[in-house]
């Protein structure tokens, strides 16, 4: 900019006053419409009055809707475990593998000496810590019912459950069989069924992706997987936090239940 020429930012420069003025007027008008006029046209107490209208339109309403009725109470106990990525992390909350191994002596008769057995019980070796911990807590609270498991966990404290989970998570996983390679994946595992709202098994339970709290399924006994899917479908098991497994299992056909159980069991 040269000094002998007129200044750009000056009220005497018509280009400046016209463009900045027009933008300012446009901005003020849209703010008036967006923050005052349109919210006031809403038939909602949150938007009544100038301040309420402006705050709501800015995304910070001064009050949220009050609860009209108390939440519906479930008929059966539901899981009360809150899953977060670091609920088992950190030095104070994490489990001790050695202590867990001692406590696990009571589990070996069904789950095997090293977390693997042929008794059609879940294989626990290498299972995610969060998944074991959640199921143990649910057995304690009665959200998941089992005549065998309930008496086994009744006397255990929270730290015991953390230690057990840490121990089993530390054991080496069983071999994933050749049948479980991607090419052998049945459609229900690989793609689910979008039109029936069934997400792919693999998108939560391994082989494609994992989600916190969802157990690793490979390999697990065929009969165990099948019976659990049927229990979800018939509402005999209801400790899945958002009812996602109940909704999925209910929509699965018998063939799909078999196919997915066979796939994760590693048998054709």
């Amino acid at each position: 900019m040269n000094d002998h020429r007129p200044r750009l930012i000056s009220l005497r420069n018509p280009w400046f006053t016209a463009s900045a003025g027009a933008v300012l007027i446009l901005f003020l008008f849209t703010v008036f419409v967006g923050f005052v006029w349109l919210p006031s046209a809403q038939n909602d107490a949150l938007f009544k009055g100038l301040l309420n209208a402006i705050c709501s339109a800015a995304g910070v309403p001064r009050a949220w809707l009050s609860e009209a009725s108390p939440p519906v109470q479930p008929k059966a106990p539901v899981s009360s475990v809150v899953l977060t990525p670091d609920m088992l992390g950190g030095p104070s909350s994490g489990g001790s593998v050695g202590r867990g191994a001692t406590l696990a002596l009571r589990c070996t008769m069904c789950h095997g000496a090293r977390g693997v057995s042929a008794a059609n019980t879940p294989n626990l070796a290498g299972q995610y810590e969060a998944s074991i911990y959640k199921e143990l807590r649910d057995f304690q609270s009665g959200a998941r019912t089992s005549a065998v498991m309930a008496p086994m966990v009744v006397g255990l404290g929270d730290q015991d459950l953390r230690d057990l989970s840490a121990y089993y998570a530390s054991l080496p996983r069983g071999d994933v069989s050749a049948a479980q390679q991607a090419h052998a994946m049945p459609n229900i595992v690989a793609t689910g069924s979008p039109m029936r709202n069934i997400a792919p098994c693999g998108s939560c339970h391994g082989d494609m992706a994992i989600k916190l709290g969802a157990p690793w399924l490979g390999p697990q006994p065929h009969d165990y997987l099948k019976s659990q899917l049927e229990a979800f479908a018939n509402d005999r098991r209801h400790n899945d936090i958002s009812a996602q497994m109940r909704n999925i299992a209910r929509n699965m056909t018998a063939d799909e239940i078999n196919a997915s159980a066979s796939y994760y069991a590693g048998s054709k």
């Binding site: 200044r7 930012i9 280009w15 400046f16 901005f27 919210p39 995304g59 690989a190 494609m208």
Partner: protein, 539 residues
């Protein structure tokens, strides 16, 4: 006169080479989720491909075209060799290094986060670092454009800045400022998580920061096409530019209005208040103004060309246009696609209408029609026009060029019209596969898009072949390059239209008014931190 041919050719060739690869990926994606192929058992392959396609087409390809074209404009319109040649090469190398750093982890499946990042998904840090390098490399160009313009202005104190350079620097400044949003998101939100310093992320804030970049980047892609409309096409078809002033005002308005509008991408997001969504919606509508000004001015310029060639009548002059000239053809195709794409865009930017198409295939169809269609066909036109001046060899085979442009136009229409339609039918976007059971309308539409995509692949190959063959053509005496001349060439310009200070100032002011509060509030909202979802992590 061009003195840095190698620099420009390097930019263009890299741009078009990665473009060719990304076109192939795009067609593969279209095919794989069409009913012509069974369901993909590993959806990650699809998302890898989408991430690579988007990263190349969104960040690398248009940036390199804008840079190569920008360096050419700088030398040709200012009539002086580029200042900062070494820096320009350094920026170019940064883009190569950044692209490799970004694409390798994507190919390995470590970064299937799509090019818009989608936090709280977090992938391998190298991808983000690569993208940052590409952006920093392009900022070198931004700075160089400013330096070159200022040097020229000092040497020519009272002369009007040539229109091509005015527009070119407007594009550079727009990019410089709009890339700041994504840069802030990457540096302060995503990279700390990707590098392992923390494991939660403020996804709402990240999305707002990205929207700062996400819409204006489209206008950055568009700028070379608009520069070609104003400064190449009228000359190429033997006409005059109808109004130099109107052109400058259009570019100034783009600078002001393309920035404070990105929240229209977040209409369905809960973390932004409805008042701000409305304000952004209105300002988005304002961006239609410079486009309408452009359509008017260019149509008038084209009519001048037709009447100079003896065209008569209210519409009869259309017949007198040089339809065998590739520039004429490209302009006409571009305007048709811009018209349809723009109309679709008006639906997307309307706060209420958007809810009918939000996150459907309509949106993907829309931006392919506007960017892949209206804009990229002008990139072809720019290359065809500049190539003889870069290689010193005449463009032969005009018939082949026309075929290529026709194929791209038809291919893009066949690809994107059914694509919009399946969106209206409710087909969601970002799907690796789709259940077509009992959905013949969707199935037929997606198959049509796949066929259109195949035409685009053929056209892209043809384009590369034409450019490649020119290098081995016979040397010819190429007349000096000229830009379009306006009917009334400017002798002196008001200060506001001879520099970009006022418009950059308004752009920044509107960024603060339209983004300041939402960003400040989200920064202060500490319970908005959510756990990161790691992509490509050990399973």
């Amino acid at each position: 006169m061009i003195s840095n041919r190698r620099l420009m050719l390097a930019h263009f060739w890299l741009a078009f080479a990665v473009f060719g690869l990304a076109v192939l990926l795009g067609e593969w994606q279209m095919f794989i989720r069409s009913p012509l192929h069974g369901w993909l058992h590993n959806p990650d392959l699809y998302y890898r491909s989408v991430t690579a396609h988007g990263t190349v087409m969104g960040y690398v390809f248009p940036t390199l075209v804008a840079m190569g074209f920008g360096y050419a404009i700088c030398e040709l319109s200012l009539g002086q060799p580029l200042i900062g040649r070494r820096w320009a090469w350094a920026g170019y190398i940064m883009i190569i290094v950044g692209s490799v750093a970004a694409v390798v982890p994507v190919a390995m499946g470590l970064d299937s986060v799509l090019y818009t990042f989608y936090p709280p998904m977090i992938g391998n840090a190298f991808y983000y670092i690569g993208v940052v390098l590409v952006v920093v490399g392009s900022w070198v160009w931004v700075v160089l454009m400013g330096i070159n313009l200022n040097a020229w202005k000092r040497a020519h104190p009272s002369a009007p800045v040539p229109l091509p350079m005015f527009a070119n620097v407007a594009a550079a400044y727009l990019w410089g400022w709009t890339a700041v949003g994504a840069a802030l998101e990457l540096l302060f939100q995503i990279l700390p998580v990707a590098l392992g310093f923390t494991n939660t992320i403020n996804a709402g804030l990240s999305r707002v920061l990205f929207s700062w970049t996400l819409h204006a980047i489209v206008y950055f892609w568009l700028m070379p096409a608009y520069i070609a409309f104003y400064t190449i096409v009228p000359r190429a078809i033997g006409g005059r530019l109808y109004s130099d002033t109107m052109a400058r005002i259009s570019f100034a308005l783009f600078l002001v209005f393309s920035m404070p509008i990105g929240i229209h991408h977040l209409f369905a997001d809960p973390q932004v208040g409805s008042g701000f969504k409305f304000v952004h919606s209105v300002f988005t509508a304002m961006v239609a103004v410079p486009t309408l000004l452009t359509v008017f001015t260019i149509c008038a310029s084209v009519e001048i060309a037709a009447r100079l060639r003896g065209g008569k009548g209210v519409f009869g002059w259309l017949k007198a246009l040089p339809w065998d000239n590739p520039q004429m053809l490209a302009l006409a195709f571009s305007f048709v696609m811009l018209g349809f794409g723009g109309a679709g865009g008006l639906i997307n930017m309307s706060y209420q209408l958007d809810s009918t198409v939000h996150n459907t295939q309509w949106v993907t169809g829309h931006f392919h029609l506007i960017f892949g269609g209206a804009i990229v066909i002008m990139y072809f036109a720019i290359a065809y026009d500049l190539w003889p001046h870069l290689t010193g060899r005449a463009m032969q085979h005009l018939g082949l060029i026309r075929t290529q442009l026709w194929l791209w136009f038809i291919g893009m229409i066949v690809t994107t019209f059914p694509w919009h339609y399946v969106g209206i039918l409710g087909m969601p976007r970002r799907m690796a596969y789709f259940d077509y059971t009992g959905m013949s309308a969707e199935a037929v539409s997606v198959i049509m898009s796949t066929v259109g995509g195949a035409l685009l692949v053929v056209s892209a190959i043809l384009f590369l072949v034409i450019l490649y063959r020119n290098h081995s053509g016979s040397r010819a005496e190429i007349a000096p390059f000229t830009f379009s001349r306006a009917i009334h060439e400017p002798t002196s310009l008001p200060l506001a239209l001879n520099g970009l200070g006022l418009w950059v100032g308004l752009m920044m002011a509107l960024t603060i008014t339209n983004y300041g509060y939402p960003i400040a509030r989200l920064i202060g909202l500490h319970d908005a931190q959510v756990p990161a979802v790691f992509i490509g992590a050990k399973r």
